[in-house]
């Protein structure tokens, strides 16, 4: 399994090369000149040319792509045109807040998704099933943006339960404090994360619950379940150990894929909830054609996504001993 993981990690190199080339190619094709955006409307053509030269944008595309690869190989992602700081620093400051929300959202969606999916399958054809599948339908169809605004209206303005915007203390540190018996920071931190994570997580929960339901239905109809019933095992044990354990496999692989959707959704939720993450940074980078920053963020998202999917594949072997990773 270690050998397998190492081989998969080695594949990250072509992945990175490819992601960089594709991003670079797209940014070549999209009209819009960062030099002109940098100088604003009140700039002369000459000044724009001057800036293009100083940013190195006047060089042929293959020179620029090549030098980006060379810099990247030395761990240098360049300097953002607009943030006035190295791309690596800008990303480092923003990546933790985005991961915080994504991880909490993932947990929420797994919990809700599993609960609803199992309930719907177990009470198949009853109002419980109908209600949870209605929820799933709503969750999938609701635009993240609209849902976020609605949630804020309800929880922050009407009920005054949660802070409407901003981030509390960093989650990891707050968690440590809570373990040492000081829960205040954790409460504060979670109260800020709650709304963005719910906004992101609910759509995801809907997807997962539908999947869990169908996987459970399939498993519940199989012979070994009947055998388990015949042996007189407790229903609880059958559902949660025998059936769920076997239904989990396709669900886990989808959770890996949904992580990508969570990162993408961060772009929207972060600008609603004033969350200082990579999503917000990505929006401004794209709207300014901040090429090195766009490149860096896309690369970060791609690598994060690849790592999660690697973990999912490794998890397979843990959940299902029949699977051998070669």
């Amino acid at each position: 399994m270690l050998w397998y993981a190492l081989r998969r990690l080695a594949l990250f190199v072509p992945l990175i090369l490819g992601v960089v080339a594709v991003t670079f190619g797209i940014m070549q094709l999209v009209p819009g000149d960062p030099a002109a955006v940098l100088l604003g409307d009140e700039a002369s053509e000459e000044a724009v040319r001057e800036i293009r030269r100083s940013l190195g944008l006047d060089r042929p595309w293959w020179v620029r792509l090549g030098s980006y690869y060379l810099d990247l190989a030395q761990g240098d992602m360049g300097i953002s045109y607009f943030q006035n700081q190295p791309v690596a620093d800008a990303i480092r400051q923003r990546v933790v807040p985005t991961l915080e929300v994504a991880v909490v959202a993932l947990l929420i969606s797994i919990l809700i998704g599993l609960a609803l999916g199992v309930a719907a399958a177990f009470w198949r054809g009853t109002p419980v099933d109908a209600a949870s599948m209605l929820f799933a339908q709503l969750g999938v169809s609701m635009p993240v943006f609209w849902f976020g605004i609605l949630l804020m209206y309800l929880l922050a303005i009407r009920l005054d339960l949660l802070p409407s915007i901003g981030r509390g203390p960093p989650l990891a540190g707050a968690l440590g404090d809570a373990i040492l018996g000081r829960p205040a920071a954790l409460v504060d931190s979670l109260s800020h994360i709650a709304m963005p994570a719910l906004t992101l997580g609910l759509t995801n929960a809907a997807v997962i619950s539908r999947l869990v339901r169908s996987a459970m239905l399939e498993t519940l109809g199989q012979d070994f379940i009947r055998t388990a019933h015949a042996k007189g095992l407790l229903t609880f044990r059958i559902v949660f150990v025998h059936a769920l354990g076997n239904a989990l496999l396709p669900v886990v692989s989808v959770i890996g894929l949904r992580f990508g959707a969570l990162l993408g959704g961060a772009v929207l939720t972060e600008s609603i909830f004033g969350w200082p993450g990579l999503g917000q940074l990505a929006v401004s980078a794209i709207s300014q054609r901040d090429l090195p920053l766009i490149q860096g963020i896309v690369l970060t998202f791609a690598v994060a996504f690849a790592i999660v999917n690697l973990l999912v594949d490794l998890l397979y072997a843990v959940i299902d001993p029949r699977i051998r990773l070669e």
Binding site: G32, E42, G166, G274
Partner: protein
Amino acid sequence: MKYARMLATVGLTSLAATAATAEITRLGADVDSATMDPRIQRNTTEYRVNNLVYDGLIKLNADLQVEPGLAESWENPEPTIWIFNLRENVTFHDGSTLVADDVVYTFETILDPDLKARFRSLFTPIETIEALDANTVRITLKEPYAPLLSYLDMGIVSKDYVESGGDIQSVPVGTGPLQLANWERGAKITLEPFEGYWGGAPDTEGIEFVVVGDNTARAQAFEAGDLDIIQSPLSSQDIGRLVENTQFQNEILGGLGITYLNFNTAHPLLSDPALRRALAMLVDQETIVNAIYEGVDQVATSILLPSSWAYDASITQPGFDPEGAKAAFAAAGWTDSNGDGTLDKDGQPLSIVLSTHSEDPNRIQSLEYIQAIMLENGVDASISIADWPAFSEGVRGGQHEIALLGWLNIVDPDRLMFGQFHTGGSFNWGSYSNSEVDAHLDTGRSATEIGDRTAAYQAAAAIIADELPYFVIAYQGYQVFHTNEVSLTPDARGMMRSVIGK
């Protein structure tokens, strides 16, 4: 017992937090700063933060009148020479004293293309800037340049701090009434009072700029009590609800921007002023301003802003008049000869592309409304929308036909006219050229008497209102909402000096 204590701890902490932040004024911002260096500022949050952290030679008050800033007084012995006498005993946030060299350094570096200062072009008429002694600065111009004074609110940086490698991008050292306490990128910028301020320590606990990208979310955060001030840009669907809420105060000011149609006069059809006039008569300004912009903006009548000293209400562009447009099209030879509902001439249909950028839904809606009326009146108008970098690249390259866009920060008429309408001007994207207008704009820039400048800009504005290289749709309004606890004199640029009484 254990749980009770835990709850008590939580309760106390949140109480303490409330008490400590109660006095800080929290302002909603639509974007984060990208730099704390005023010389390369680009976005509105940067201007507004820098305006509190730094001082300029002069200060523009809420009515845009020039007041002394770091310069106590100034003289203009010759049209091309300005001498500024600096205040003594002004200290930077790091404790060092302001000297004339700091002023010289600030402007010399702005003029250096390597700094990539966005507002460099405002200062390029400067020939030299030099320190006559520790407290006197002399600016020599290449040619008389009347607007200069109103641009000198640019924040002055500390030469020693920057040259010795101080991280001015993220740790500003200015002479302003507030200094940076903390900057959580992408979330908030917290400013605290600077006790050593030359004008006396400000009476405030500080100001916090809180970044919320989405307009509606920002309005809701304000309603939820998590912000104390929000201001333009606001979404029209939120304005009505906020105005009705008696917990908030609300003020609207004439802004410093315009929304306009840029006619590309190099386009074969649009090169005819008569056709431009006829098309302009199909723009229903009233409806756009009142229905789309919720009455915050005002119907524009000319290129001169009502807030400007050069304003003259008697200079007017054509108004909304579909019948008049029909007659004007007919007079120019455009009729619906084949009965297909579209005007034509010499077998060619009257086809026009209207364009704008995708970031501002109000602009898209305005353009769609203009298109609808044009279609009703026989003009085959289509729409092209792209995001700002792509759209502006097209307009800068003169590839547009009729573009809807805007100008901001017009503190002097020169800034809205010289580069825009002068033959070969830097932002004359519609290739407009009229030697009379050129002469008036030259006079407006070089004359030192305000009366002469006024006459020149009014003469130019009258020609522009008739020939329409621009059709100005609206004077942009500026709106601010704040809680009753905040005392604020609205400033059309969104500056917050009045909140801290400085």
